[in-house]
Symmetry: C2
Subunit: 346 residues, 2 copies
């Protein structure tokens, strides 16, 4: 296939901006890139390097002639315009949770389940940020040694809640002495009734609660992982926590593999050759992943790999990645690149 | 027994100061309180309310006539002076890791294993902060439903690394915009070779690494928990992470109980009557423990209790407590109160 016409819906947001940057940085074979956003942002100019773009309003006609449309403007906008874009001939790569668990919509991390892209009805879903880095780190282990179980506790950055959450952390961050008086206005969830300070705090709630007592973020990790791995029987449970970190999600993973007597060295060996994964695991030199150093990087960083002392098939891993890049924008652009290279029917 | 003469070694440190405050606040039956510290601090005055104390140098003779000596000045000082204090007639309550795993030295959390206090050779060890809050929260569950397994991921505050770590966080906390240039000088471990920024970061290292790949902090949680519960067969594994939080450790616990078919409501019921534990668990009102709100409080707060979807005996809990209080000073003072009330041989 030749060059493609691209649209980015939500182009002025935290993830939309990164999608544009990644498309340009990776020389995506686009013949045009159209930036779409709300009426309020229409007419604004966006500059990346020497290129200038003018933001247009997201209306149905905007998708005429578009081959690939990235959606990253919230679930409601996706529900409103994704089918419309498909009807006008585009393939939609959707960064929201709107379509992720719909049965015939592929949920894709290219390093893990590229083949799921071969059959789609015009919409492809990009998984939740915390899910992507976890499955990218685990796929090489799963493929070689099997996977029975995941227990994950997350350490998530505020940028996952949008730029207003970054502003909130910044406004609170210099109040260490008077931290007891800080009042939250946005987090844990702008739509929630109660808000708590994030600076000098850890909030064990991301997104709303389900009747099960789990948050939607936790359920996303649990359900999306099973779908991406095509393993409905996989045992996954999650605890998701928001931290005063700007960008970069961290995850403390406990896993059980199928194969007996796998060594830590074998896990390290497998990860050291895995696409998109960088092994940072040397305790002698205090080498392990940290979110502050993952920011702006494309990879999924893995370290602190060690065996459970009581379970021969149990391992602990510490997994860190930039939640706006591999967790969102980069993965979406990689999906688009894969679509182009496997010459699907777009 | 009558009133006792008390000494606090390391009285000018973060925990020593809190021990003095708690002794006064709880009207501990002391006839005298002697503050001991390094030669450098000797002569300094410490005021609590209307009471004034003069710091003296820690020398062997300082323990003459002392009935109970709290030690909180690092493992080396405990190794140097604890036996000396015992020889001169004091019972030592040691807040360092120096004696915790010594076989005939009791390791005590009064709500959990008070009876261990009945037999001692003059030294009683106060467990590690992250261990105390975990066993205090789990004991009521263990006593009623049995306990097979714990997998814990911690979210620990900088005050656990001393006041210089708090100063370091404060110095870094207003550099959100220039966070990539922050340089760490103290954390993760003052004695380590490498230092990393803590503001806007999460550091998966607390204390030094063991040859097993676990940190000493993780091994403390694993080994101390088995000793306090008198359960060498208990399966415990830990991942310990330092956060940009001033005070208040949080823990994401996954546990497996022995009894089948225990409900979340039963776990909540047991915890709602547990000594020293406060249940904060109502997702409808976004009620759950957070470190910023646990600071300065005596209790261990528990919430986010939910069942593992794939394991009927598995539960998740989120446990938060002030690491300087129940995690250190308060627990030490409670040990002293227990000693007084069970009229041991001091």
């Amino acid at each position: 296939m030749g060059k493609v016409n691209v649209a980015i819906v939500g182009a002025t947001g935290a993830v939309g901006t990164k999608i544009l940057e990644k498309l340009l940085e990776r020389n995506f074979p686009s013949s045009s890139i159209k930036l779409l956003a709300s009426k309020r942002s229409a007419g604004n100019k966006v500059e990346v390097g020497e290129k200038q773009f003018v933001v247009e309003e997201t209306v149905p006609e905007a998708f005429d002639g578009v081959d690939i449309a990235f959606f990253s403007a919230g679930g409601k906008i996706s529900e409103m315009f994704a089918e419309e874009a498909v009807k006008r001939g585009a393939v939609v790569i959707d960064n929201t949770s709107a379509f992720r668990m719909v049965e015939d919509i592929p949920l894709v991390v290219p390093e893990v389940n590229l083949e799921a892209l071969r059959q789609h009805n015009g919409i492809i879903a990009n998984p939740n940020c915390s899910t992507i880095q976890m499955v990218a780190a685990l796929e090489p282990i799963r493929a070689k040694y099997g996977l029975k179980r995941i227990v994950v506790s997350t350490y998530q950055a505020v940028s996952g809640a949008g730029s207003e959450a970054i502003d909130e952390l910044q406004a609170q961050a210099d109040q260490l002495e008077s931290r007891a008086e800080i009042e939250g206005e946005i987090l844990p969830s702008a739509a929630g009734k109660k808000h708590y300070p994030i600076a000098f705090n850890a909030i064990p709630q991301i997104d709303a609660f389900d009747a099960s007592g789990y948050t939607l973020e936790e359920l996303k990790m649990m359900n999306e992982t099973k779908k991406i791995f095509s393993m409905p029987e996989l045992q996954v449970s999650a605890t998701c926590v928001r931290l005063p970190v700007v960008t970069g999600h961290s995850e403390s993973l406990y896993i059980e593999v199928e194969k007996e007597n796998v060594s830590v060295e074998e896990i390290r060996e497998v990860l050291s050759h895995a696409p998109g994964v960088v092994l940072q695991d040397d305790v002698d030199t205090q080498t392990y992943p940290m979110p502050l150093f993952a920011e702006g990087k494309d990879d999924v960083f893995v370290g602190r790999i060690r065996k459970d002392p009581d379970k021969s098939t149990g391992f602990h891993l510490w997994v860190v990645s930039d939640n706006l890049l591999k967790g969102a924008a980069l993965n979406s652009v990689q999906i688009a690149e894969s679509l182009v290279s496997i010459k699907t029917s777009i």
